[in-house]
């Protein structure tokens, strides 16, 4: 089912779409689909055409049924820092053991730079484990999610003592753009989203190892305000099925000293506002076009509905405080299903609607990649 209407709509004769001459590379395939301006362009016309204008409303439980609950529990209720990863060259899901050894060697070597390292029989206090989280992929094109964990134990502990998790991270691709994924040359694996949690020095070591081993680029991913609004709307949409607790939006105003505004709405009221916005928009469309939009209305969420929803909340706020929230940046969105921050941190608090959130983040990562 064609979900990314943006890809289909990109006009062939658009000035911005330049076909790069020269050898085929995955660089060209995505760019040609998307437009050279990519995330740098500010022209509203092109960006809206390029942005996903409608998404599937989130369905619960898709993930919980297919994924091992133990592994799932490692992923939820933790705050992750997001990064984008360009496609990995020669990454094999079958070689995970070897990767574990290689990463461990790399970390040990970096820690002891300049000293001779004996790997065999080394009393390393760290242990690296690569594993596959099966069942997260939604389509056949998605590569399986890979989980990396780094455990440590104290030098004096014995073999049986439990190890402490000091760093974990996972590479994932949930519903990545099928055109893009299929256009990659055979040797590349697309796992564009990296979520990491743990000490900063370990994060940078793991990133540099991945960059060296698989010839990729890793950069920080921040969640811009449009995507935060999407998350707010998609999560609110889930309310009838699963109580979202509250809808909390935080803005930061650029005054001196900076002012932070936390706007928390009662979940039922947020839901009613959201559904009334959708209903009204559909009414207007019907009036304009004279043809019912038909089935699938409830299923898909449009960007117009999202913008109206957030604007409605901002207007309500303005009517009271006469303070224009558009002057500030939306920095955080939080419900019982998760918390997303502008700085690129995400916390998934409930596994029920994980898929929709990860889908959106995968798309962000694919769009942010410089390639």
């Amino acid at each position: 089912m064609e979900r990314h209407s943006s890809v289909a709509e990109t006009p062939v004769n658009s000035v911005m779409v330049q076909r790069r001459s020269g050898s085929k590379s995955f660089r060209q395939s995505y760019r040609s689909c998307v437009g050279a301006a990519s995330h740098l362009g500010y022209t509203p016309g092109l960006t809206t055409r390029r942005l996903t204008t409608s998404r599937r409303a989130p369905r619960s439980r898709t993930v919980t049924e297919s994924v091992n609950p133990e592994q799932l529990s490692l992923l939820v209720k933790k705050e992750w820092q997001l990064s984008y990863v360009t496609p990995l060259h020669h990454f094999r899901h079958t070689q995970l053991r070897s990767y574990s050894r290689q990463l461990l060697a790399f970390i040990v070597a970096e820690k002891q730079q300049g000293l001779a390292v004996a790997l065999e029989g080394a009393e390393s206090s760290l242990k690296v484990v690569f594993s596959v989280v099966e069942g997260m992929a939604t389509t056949d094109d998605d590569a399986d999610t890979v989980l990396i964990q780094i455990h440590s134990k104290s030098v004096f502990a014995s073999q049986d003592d439990p190890r402490r998790l000091v760093w974990s991270g996972w590479l994932t691709c949930i519903n990545g753009s099928p055109d893009y994924v299929r256009s990659l040359p055979k040797d590349f694996v697309c796992l564009p989203l990296l979520c990491s949690s743990g000490a900063q020095w370990l994060t940078s070591l793991v990133k540099s190892w991945l960059e060296r081993a698989f010839d990729c680029c890793i950069g920080s991913l921040d969640i811009n305000s449009v995507n935060l609004q999407w998350l707010a709307a998609l999560w609110t949409n889930c309310h009838p099925e699963s109580n979202i607790g509250q809808l909390k939006l935080m803005w930061t105003l650029p005054v001196d000293p900076p002012l932070e505004i936390a706007f928390t709405v009662h979940p039922q009221d947020a839901w009613e506002l959201w559904s009334s916005m959708r209903g009204q928009l559909q009414e207007e469309e019907q009036e304009n076009e004279g043809v019912g939009e038909g089935a699938g209305d409830k299923d898909s969420v449009d960007i117009d509905e999202v913008t109206r929803f957030i604007d409605g909340l901002k207007n309500h706020f303005y009517r009271h405080f006469r303070l224009d929230l558009s002057a500030g940046t939306l920095s955080q969105v939080s419900t019982a299903l998760g918390t997303a921050k502008h700085s690129g941190r995400i916390k998934i608090s409930s596994s029920s609607y994980m898929n929709a959130t990860l889908m959106l983040l995968t798309e962000c990562a694919l769009l942010k990649m410089p390639v």
Partner: protein
């Protein structure tokens, strides 16, 4: 000297930052000159603690002495912990004539009547404020000096500020205060913050206020940013007006440092285009919390830069006008006052 005194002293020394330790000990005056000289304040804290514990043994200090030291420290740096403002209501006829000794006596009597095992210490600070330190005990245990309550009352005003009071202790404390000050009741002023000086200034309006004048003379903006003179000339009048109104609402110059303001709204949806919601008629419940290191200054900047439309809405200007930072707003008007 028992363990509890030692523990109290240890906790206290840990709490006082080293820069303040010297002056606080000097003010306290219970160290001999030799002992004072022998303390080297460049050493790590634990060394100083050991020394002081040794002096404690030597000089035979009791809990009473240590609580004195604590009170000196807290009075000198009152901008810690959370302070809550309260207002006394309906004074009796002789309320204005209550003075220090009478208040002290009455408070001690009333509080010990209500709860037997308390340890009360009252001190008058230099600026008309009476400081009270209360350590609470119950029928089974002696007063717990590790978690004292502090109360500050400005005589001749109906304002009381409290810090570290539990829910059970509050009614007893309130009762004692009301009786000692010869008022009839006490209510929550809905004003809280980390800095005692700030909430005191807000509630007693002791900051530079600006009043609307018929002949406005331009108030000097604090930070004159270099800007294009042509733009400045054109924008002069409107930016002066904005600045004037911003200062009227939030004060001029250095304003009291509040950190948060919370509004609980339960009002009908006020969007522009949405008919369904406005027809719905039921209010939307939401909570808005403003946070900043200096809230009033942030608001003032919002108003003078145009992010907040002027004239400033009464919801925001109520913070200074009414001296509170917690509001419940319903469609019928303000909530509980």
């Amino acid at each position: 000297m028992d363990d509890s005194t030692k523990r109290l002293l240890q906790q206290l020394v840990r709490r006082i930052p080293t820069q303040m330790l010297k002056t606080t000990l000097e003010k306290w005056g219970r160290l001999t000159t030799e002992q004072q000289k022998s303390l080297d304040f460049t050493q790590p804290k634990w060394v100083l603690t050991e020394n002081l514990l040794a002096f404690c043994e030597e000089n035979g200090w009791t809990t009473k002495h240590i609580t004195e030291l604590e009170m000196i420290y807290v009075t000198d740096s009152p901008n810690q912990g959370m302070w809550y403002a309260f207002q006394l209501l309906d004074p009796e006829d002789d309320a204005p004539s209550v003075e220090l000794t009478q208040f002290k006596e009455q408070f001690k009597i009333h509080l010990t009547e209500l709860i037997r095992h308390v340890s009360i210490k009252i001190k008058k600070h230099t600026d008309e404020a009476v400081w009270i330190r209360i350590a609470w005990g119950d029928s089974f245990s002696r007063p717990n000096h590790l978690k004292p309550t502090y109360v500050v009352h400005h005589l001749q005003t109906p304002y009381v500020f409290m810090s570290s009071v539990t829910r059970k202790q509050k009614p007893l404390l309130s009762q004692a205060l009301v009786l000692a000050t010869r008022y009839t009741a006490i209510k929550d002023a809905h004003l809280s913050g980390r800095k005692l000086t700030a909430i005191r200034d807000v509630v007693m309006k002791q900051y530079q206020q600006v009043f609307p004048t018929k002949y406005p003379s331009p108030l000097l903006e604090q930070n004159q940013t270099a800007s294009n003179p042509l733009i400045k000339r054109e924008q002069a009048e409107s930016s002066e007006n904005r600045h004037q109104m911003a200062c009227e609402a939030f004060g001029y110059g250095m304003v009291p440092q509040l950190q948060t303001a919370v509004y609980k709204l339960e009002t009908k949806f006020r969007g522009i285009t949405n008919k369904t919601m406005t027809e719905r008629g039921e209010p939307i419940r939401c909570v808005v919390k403003f946070t900043s290191t200096n809230l009033l200054e942030s608001f003032r900047n919002c108003a003078s830069s145009g992010i907040a439309s002027t004239p400033v809405t009464p919801l925001l200007s109520s913070i200074t006008q009414k001296g509170r930072n917690f509001f419940v707003i319903t469609d019928n008007g303000r909530g509980p006052s």
